[in-house]
Amino acid sequence: MLQVSSLTKVFRLASSKRGREGHDPRERGRRFHAIDGIDFEVRRGQVLGLLGQNGAGKTTLLRILSTSLKPTSGVVLCDGEDLTKNPLEIRKRIGFVSGNTGLYGRLTAREMLSYYGKLHGMAAAALDERIRSLARKLDMDWFLDQRNETLSSGMRQKVSIARALIHDPEILLFDELTTGLDVAAADSVLTVVAVCKSEGRTVLFSTHHMDEVDQLCDSVVIVHEGKLCFEGGVDTMRSQTGESFLDKAFLRLIRPKTEGAKT
C-alpha cells in the first residue's frame, strides 16, 4: 500500500526561470511549489490513474514516489515504511518507467536487463531465469540480443518495462507509458499493465489518454497546478461531473480551477 499525506515539493527558481509575478500561482517569490499538500492512497493490487495537464506536477510526484526526489514536506509510506528513511530498500520494491524510454543504445536488451538485475543484487542464475521469463511474457525473445539503438519505439518500451520488472517489484510507476507509440505497440504495452494488475502489483499510471484510464484504472487522482483536485473511481468522475466521456469529465474537474486561477 502506498499512502501519500500532505506532500509538498518546493523548488528554488533560477532567476532566468522566474516569470511575471502572479503568472503562475505556484510561483511564490524565488520558490516554485510544484506539489502543494497532496494526499491520496493506492491499495495493493490497484491501478491508480494519475491525470493532469502538462506541467501539473505529475512527473514531480512520480519522481518523489520513486525516491529520485526528496519531498520538501509531507510523508509517503510504502507498506507503512517512510520512503525517505531508507530509500535504497524502498527502491527494491519499486519499478519506474517513463514515456521517454531511457535505454542504453549500445547495449543489447539482454545486457541492459542484466545490468539492472546486477544493480539490484540478483544472483547470476536467478537473473538469467528472470530475463528468460520476462522475455517470454513480453514477447521479447526475438530481439533480446539486438542493440537497443536498433529497436522500434514499441520494442524499446517493452525493454523499458522489462527493466522496471527485472527485480520483481511490488509497486510500478508508469509515466506516460504510451507516448509516441502506434496503436499496436500501445495496445501490447497496456496488456502488460493489465498483466501486472492481475499479478497483484500496485500500479500508478500517469496518462493523458482517457481510454487507457477507462480500460485499466480502478481509481483516479487528478493533479492540477500542484494540488489534488479529484480522487475517486472512474464512475465517480462521470457521476460528479454529469459527463459520460472521461475527457469531458476531466476538463470539467480542472476547468473551474483554471478559470479561478486566471481571474
Binding site: R63, L88, S98, G102, L119
Partner: protein
C-alpha cells in the same frame, strides 16, 4: 556479487568502448594518427631543410667592379647562380616576386676602403620574413671565407706570419666551454618540457568524451533517471562512472606513450644522435615513473570533467562548458616549457605544473625522488578532493534535475 560501483564501471566501459568516436579519440588517434602525423611532419621538415641547403640561390650584384675579388667568391661558389636585373631599384620587387633569392649592392667607395685596409659595408637584400630561408647563413658563410683570406693577407703584409700567430693576434683569449651537464640533461632541459605537455594534452583528450557521454549524455538519453533508482548509494554510481572516465584518460596516455616510444625507437637512427641519445639514456624505471605521474592527472581531469558534465543539461552544453577548461588546464602544463621554471617546492605545489616539471626532471635524469613522492601525494590528494566534490555534486537535485 560485485559491488555496485564495479557493476556500473564494467557497464560504462562496455558502453564507452562500443562507441566509434571514443575508439577514434582513445585508440585510433594515438596508434595510427599520431605516428603518421609525426612521420609526415618530421619528414617534411627534414626535406625542407635539405632543400634549403642544396637549393641553387639566384642572385644579382650591383657594383661588382668596386670589389671584383668579393664578387668572384660568389661566382665560383657551388649553389649560387648569378643573374642580371635592369637596375638596383627593381631589387626589392624582384625578391618579393621570387625572381631572385638575394641581391648584393657594393658601394663605389668599397674599392678605396678595401685597398686602404679599412672596413667596407656591402648591402645584402633578401627575404628575411621566410623562416626556412638559408640565404643569410649561406651568404654569411661565403663572406666569412672571403674575410678570412683578406685578413690573412692583410696581417701577412703587416709582418704577422700566418697560422697560429695570426689566430692569437685576432683572438687573444679563447673561451673553451666545459659543460658539466650530461648530454641527457642538456637535451632533457630543451625538449623535456614539451613531452609532458603532449602527454597531459592526450590525457585530457582521452577523458573528455567519456566524461560527456557518461554524465550529460545519460541525462540527455533519459537513462540517468532510471539509474538513480537502482538500490545502490549514489556515490557508488559516481565512483563507477569516475573509474570509467579515468580509464579513458589512462588508456589514451598509455597508448600514446607506447605508440610514441615505438615510433621513436624505429626512427631514432634516422633522426640521428639527439633523440637517440635521449631515448637510450631513459631507463625502464623512469618510464614507469613517467606513466605513474600521469595517474593523478588523469584522476583530476576525470573528476573535474565528470562534475561539469553532470551539471550540464545535455552533451552540447557539456562540450561548451568543458572547452575553456581545455585551455585552463593545459596552461599549467605548458609552464614547464618556459625557461627558468624549475622544479622547486613552490612549483611542486602548483597542480599539473608540478607533474609537468617532475616529468621534465625524469627525462633529464635529475629527479629528486623525495619531491616526486610529495608531488604524487599532493596530486592524489587533489584528485581525491575533486572526486569527493563530484560525489557531493551528484547528490544534489538541482544538479541532477536541472531544467
Amino acid at each position: 556479487m560485485k559491488a555496485g560501483f564495479q557493476t556500473v564501471f564494467f557497464k560504462e566501459m562496455k558502453d564507452v568502448l562500443r562507441d566509434r568516436k571514443t575508439l577514434l579519440l582513445m585508440i585510433i588517434l594515438p596508434i595510427v594518427v599520431v605516428p603518421l602525423l609525426l612521420n609526415l611532419l618530421i619528414g617534411f621538415v627534414i626535406k625542407k631543410e635539405q632543400e634549403a641547403k642544396s637549393e641553387v640561390l639566384e642572385y644579382v650584384v650591383f657594383g661588382d667592379e668596386f670589389a671584383p675579388e668579393f664578387a668572384k667568391t660568389f661566382e665560383g661558389a657551388n649553389g649560387f647562380k648569378k643573374v642580371t636585373l635592369g637596375s638596383s631599384d627593381e631589387l626589392v620587387v624582384a625578391i618579393r616576386e621570387e625572381r631572385i633569392d638575394f641581391g648584393l649592392v657594393i658601394p663605389e667607395k668599397t674599392a678605396t676602403q678595401l685597398s686602404g685596409q679599412e672596413q667596407a659595408s656591402i648591402e645584402l637584400h633578401f627575404d628575411n620574413a621566410s623562416m626556412g630561408s638559408k640565404v643569410e647563413d649561406r651568404v654569411q658563410g661565403l663572406v666569412e671565407k672571403f674575410n678570412d683570406g683578406l685578413t690573412a693577407a692583410r696581417l701577412a703584409k703587416l709582418g704577422v706570419p700566418s697560422g697560429q700567430k695570426q689566430k692569437s693576434l685576432l683572438e687573444p683569449v679563447r673561451l673553451r666551454k666545459q659543460g658539466t651537464g650530461k648530454i641527457r640533461e642538456v637535451i632533457g632541459d630543451r625538449i623535456g618540457g614539451m613531452v609532458p605537455y603532449f602527454f597531459i594534452a592526450f590525457c585530457f583528450m582521452g577523458v573528455v568524451y567519456p566524461a560527456i557521454h557518461l554524465g550529460a549524455g545519460e541525462k540527455e538519453r533519459g537513462t540517468l533517471e532510471t539509474l538513480l533508482l537502482a538500490p545502490i548509494p549514489r556515490h557508488q554510481v559516481v565512483l563507477g562512472k569516475f573509474l570509467a572516465v579515468f580509464c579513458g584518460g589512462i588508456i589514451a596516455v598509455l597508448l600514446n606513450l607506447a605508440s610514441l616510444g615505438t615510433w621513436l625507437a624505429i626512427k631514432a637512427g634516422e633522426l640521428r644522435g639527439i633523440i637517440g641519445t635521449l631515448i637510450g639514456s631513459i631507463d625502464l624505471l623512469d618510464l614507469m615513473l613517467l606513466a605513474l605521474m600521469l595517474i593523478p592527472v588523469a584522476a583530476m581531469f576525470a573528476a573535474l570533467l565528470l562534475s561539469i558534465s553532470i551539471f550540464a543539461r545535455n552533451s552540447a552544453e557539456a562540450s561548451t562548458l568543458i572547452s575553456p577548461f581545455g585551455i585552463v588546464l593545459i596552461v599549467p602544463a605548458a609552464l614547464a616549457m618556459l625557461p627558468g621554471v624549475e622544479l622547486n617546492w613552490f612549483w611542486a605545489s602548483v597542480p599539473v605544473t608540478n607533474v609537468s616539471l617532475a616529468m621534465k626532471e625524469l627525462l633529464k635524469g635529475t629527479m629528486d625522488y623525495t619531491m616526486l613522492l610529495a608531488i604524487f601525494a599532493s596530486s592524489t590528494l587533489i584528485a581525491g578532493g575533486l572526486l569527493f566534490f563530484c560525489a557531493k555534486w551528484f547528490n544534489r537535485e538541482s544538479v541532477l534535475f536541472r531544467v
